[in-house]
């Protein structure tokens, strides 16, 4: 049985991981602020966004996001429905989220995007960071066409 101290700490960890995810969303919505986003990942982190690519290491993740605004002029990362499990060690955690993301791609073209995240987190010196982000997009569709006529737009 976990002690009262441990139970309260787990709830605080869940809260801090939610705040981490929101901070990530806010940096993404701030023209994909590359330094801000990179500061939330540990050195050997992996970001995998399916059609948007696979990047290993904080430097590679930073470089990807530095160019993201060339394709995505504006986005709102609306992350919802979190489920966060903190490991009994209290130093690693897993999270699952939904995202619905209204966006404006180069054009300008209004887009509907939606998907799910599977994340892994690690606590270093009392602070939570992303170890892995796995974003699985269900659709990336032009606003006027919708997600049935064009489930995944051509990014070229």
């Amino acid at each position: 049985m976990a002690s009262l101290e441990e139970k309260v700490q787990r709830l605080l960890d869940i809260q801090e991981i939610r705040d981490l995810k929101t901070q990530y969303a806010m940096y993404c919505d701030d023209q994909y602020n590359p330094d801000g986003i990179a500061s939330l990942f540990v050195e050997d982190a992996i970001w995998d966004g399916g059609m948007f690519g696979h990047y290993e290491g904080r430097a590679a993740i930073r470089e990807f996001f530095a160019g993201a605004s060339d394709t995505i002029e504006f986005a709102l990362h609306l992350t919802v429905g979190d489920k966060i499990e903190v490991d009994p060690s209290g130093t690693t955690a897993k999270g699952s989220w939904y995202i619905i993301m209204p966006a404006t791609f180069k054009g300008p073209q209004a887009m509907w995007c939606a998907g799910t995240y599977r994340d892994e987190y690690v606590k270093v010196d009392g602070k939570w960071y992303f170890q892995n982000v796995n974003a699985n997009l269900d659709f990336v569709s032009p606003y006027e066409k919708g997600w049935v006529a064009e489930q995944y737009t051509d990014l070229e």
């Binding site: 809260q15 939610r18 919802v80 209204p102 602070k127």
Partner: protein, 167 residues
């Protein structure tokens, strides 16, 4: 980072975070119910009681409104034009001050609205302040930064960007 020493202090912070989240939920729910109601008597005292007497509501689109009577006038203006609204408030991130009597919170909101008979998408962020008075959390300052307010039939790429409010 949590600065509390005792488990009671940490638990109190979690309870305060939950209370502030619930306050924002009540704000959205009472506003949507009021705006959707056929026989509008909104904003009513129940809704305005969510705010501190000296509360401020401001946005990059609506300007700044201070004091409960100014808020009443602002919201009455919305009620005259809006017949349907759903404020989907998303991803709360709440900081409780070390005093335990003040808090700040960030949310996203994604809104489906009918205004002047037209369907509208509205997206915004909230950066709000709260105060605890007589053991009850109240809204002190709402800062809404509206990213777009766009007709459904056009989408948000066709519209000119909205002005940005200073921090």
């Amino acid at each position: 980072m949590p600065s509390e020493r005792t488990v009671e202090q940490r638990l109190q912070r979690l309870e305060d975070i939950a209370a502030v989240r619930q306050l924002k939920h009540t704000y959205a729910k009472l506003m949507d119910a009021g705006l959707c109601h056929e026989n509008k008597a909104w904003p009513d005292d129940r809704f305005l009681a969510l705010f501190a007497d000296d509360a401020i509501w401001e946005s990059n689109v609506h300007g700044r409104h201070e004091g409960r009577e100014a808020l009443r006038a602002l919201f009455a203006g919305w009620a005259a034009r809006i017949t349907f609204a759903k404020h989907h408030t998303i991803a709360p991130s709440i900081d409780i001050a070390p005093s335990g009597a003040e808090a700040s919170g960030h949310w996203y909101t994604w809104e489906t609205i009918t205004a002047d008979g037209q369907p509208i998408w509205l997206a915004a962020t909230y950066n709000d302040d709260f105060v605890k008075r007589d053991r009850r959390w109240l809204i002190k300052h709402v800062r809404s930064n509206i990213q777009f307010r766009s007709p459904y039939h056009q989408g948000w790429a066709a519209e000119a960007p909205l002005p940005q409010m200073g921090a």
